[in-house]
């Protein structure tokens, strides 16, 4: 009986596997891969909203910071553009660039009431995805993140002021093994190649004293690796992906890496429908 159930489950998996490829290409996963949303598709989730303008062009944003103004006093706008090739199948290349602007009021709320600088986060990645067969896809990517803060001085300056910059370079390997049209297992490996020292220039002024500083900070114990196994589900309109791992943690949206290793949680879900 037990063997029969097992065989039936296996047969069901194999039966679904044939249809998996079509579903995968219709609604491919867009994070960590070179794929984009199909033309006219809008995916709305808590962590990101994406829209396929053309099959090869996708725009997106991170919605939560837009609605953070009750806490940060101002919205934090963000947006990204992703372009991919469609003429090297089964190999796909993509480039993505994104911007996030953090107004001075938000920085003051996050860092220090006296801080008067704004911050601009720039993200870019290049990814190559290769669909080995209908079930297995491998993606190799290079990520770049830059956080630049520019501000003005005031009398009580203590936090992010002047000009501050930090650059992060990392690579990743993402594998997706699709069992059927709904379910897939994933594995994300990331390697932090280099994170520059955080360089900050600041100034402060009072009647008696003027202080200007040019300081950089860097971790003395920078870790590099992270591994996140996970699962993903793709239904007709819903999609859910999650993973739990360990290693260097990348700040969402900003892309800066932590120096220490942490338990990692990777989660995304969205409701997907065709606009046109």
């Amino acid at each position: 009986m037990r063997a029969a159930v097992t065989l039936a489950a296996l047969a069901a998996c194999l039966g679904f596997a044939g249809a998996a490829g079509a579903q995968q290409l219709d609604n491919p996963r867009t994070d960590y891969t070179a794929y984009t949303r199909p033309k006219g598709t809008l995916a709305v989730g808590l962590f990101k909203v994406e829209h396929g303008i053309l099959d090869e062009i996708m725009v997106g944003t991170y919605p939560i910071p837009w609605f953070a103004f009750p806490w940060l006093k101002v919205p934090v706008p963000s947006g990204y553009l992703k372009l991919r090739t469609s003429w090297f199948d089964p190999l796909t290349f993509s480039g993505r660039a994104g911007l996030t602007y953090i107004d001075a009021k938000a920085v003051a709320e996050l860092a220090d009431d006296s801080a008067s600088g704004s911050a601009l986060s720039i993200n870019a990645d290049f990814t190559a995805s290769y669909q080995i067969n209908e079930r297995l896809t491998l993606s190799l990517g290079f990520d770049y993140a830059r956080l630049a803060a520019v501000g003005s001085a005031n009398d009580q300056a203590t936090a992010i002021e002047g000009a501050s910059t930090a650059d992060t370079y990392s690579t990743r390997l993402f594998g997706e093994w699709r069992f059927n049209r709904v379910f897939a297992m994933t594995l994300l490996l990331r390697y932090l190649v280099y994170q520059s020292p955080f360089d900050t220039s600041s100034s402060a002024e009072s009647d008696a004293v003027s202080v200007e500083s040019d300081l950089s900070a860097e971790s003395t114990e920078q870790r590099h690796f992270s591994i996140t196994p996970g699962v993903s589900f793709v239904w007709k309109n819903w999609e859910l992906a999650g993973g739990v791992g360990y290693g260097v943690f990348y700040l969402p949206i900003l892309g800066l890496a932590t120096a220490k290793r942490w338990p990692l949680l990777d989660l995304s879900f969205a409701y997907r429908f065709d606009l046109y």
């Binding site: 830059r146 630049a148 000009a163 910059t165 930090a166 650059d167 520059s196 020292p197 360089d199 009647d207 008696a208 004293v209 003027s210 202080v211 200007e212 500083s213 040019d214 300081l215 950089s216 900070a217 860097e218 971790s219 003395t220 114990e221 120096a259 220490k260």
Partner: protein
Amino acid sequence: MKPRKESSWRLRWAYRRGVSLLGLSSALLACSGRADIPDTPDLTYLQEEFNHPTAALDETSVGEAIKEMPSLRELAAAFRAAGGRTTRDIQTGGSETTSGSRLSIQGSIHVTARCPGALGTPEFGPNGSVSMTLGVQQNLIKRGIRADADGCVFQGDAFGTPIRVELDGPVFLDLGRDLGLRQRFSGRLLMLVAGTLDVEGVRLENLAARWTDDSLEYLFRLPDDDKWVIAILAADGSVTVKDSKSTWGCSDGQACAPQ
């Protein structure tokens, strides 16, 4: 011919675009990285000179040396006030951040302190200034500091008597040890005035002293040779002179005697 021209134009466009992108990338990358650590003076040689005076005095020559020295009380008041002006702004308070931290901070801090003048009420602006650059390495402010005074006028306290002091030109300081970024400075400060120190109209040049709350040591080079002694003014006003062999106790208006 037309395709060739177009090809040439495209090559130039691609070249210029490539150079522009390279320039932009270089400019962006140049903004980040480790901050430069400025060169700071090394005054350990002067600390050694304070520790090891070279002149050998007798009862006569020690008396002559005392007479040749500027007023130690006024000098102490001037140095203490000048030291306060320059080190006040690095006494930030808080807990020490040591080089054992997981975060390594380096770079420079440039401080310009405007001087208050010799009157009781501070008047910043017309009384000159002192600017100095601190080097920061591995979370520590480096012990050697170069400062430049520009007609800095302030008030000194010579055992209860206010005196006018004016500092001008280069000044070098040694904190005695590297200082944590959030650590309050305390200890013995060494100051070398390579410019001039004007105390109540008496203009002095090339002075070196080090002091704590309890005493001030003044390095006095004998006028006739290249040797030196150390004159020490204690908090109670007593003066001792240390030469290469012995220490002399000197009471006001009386001869010095070996201790």
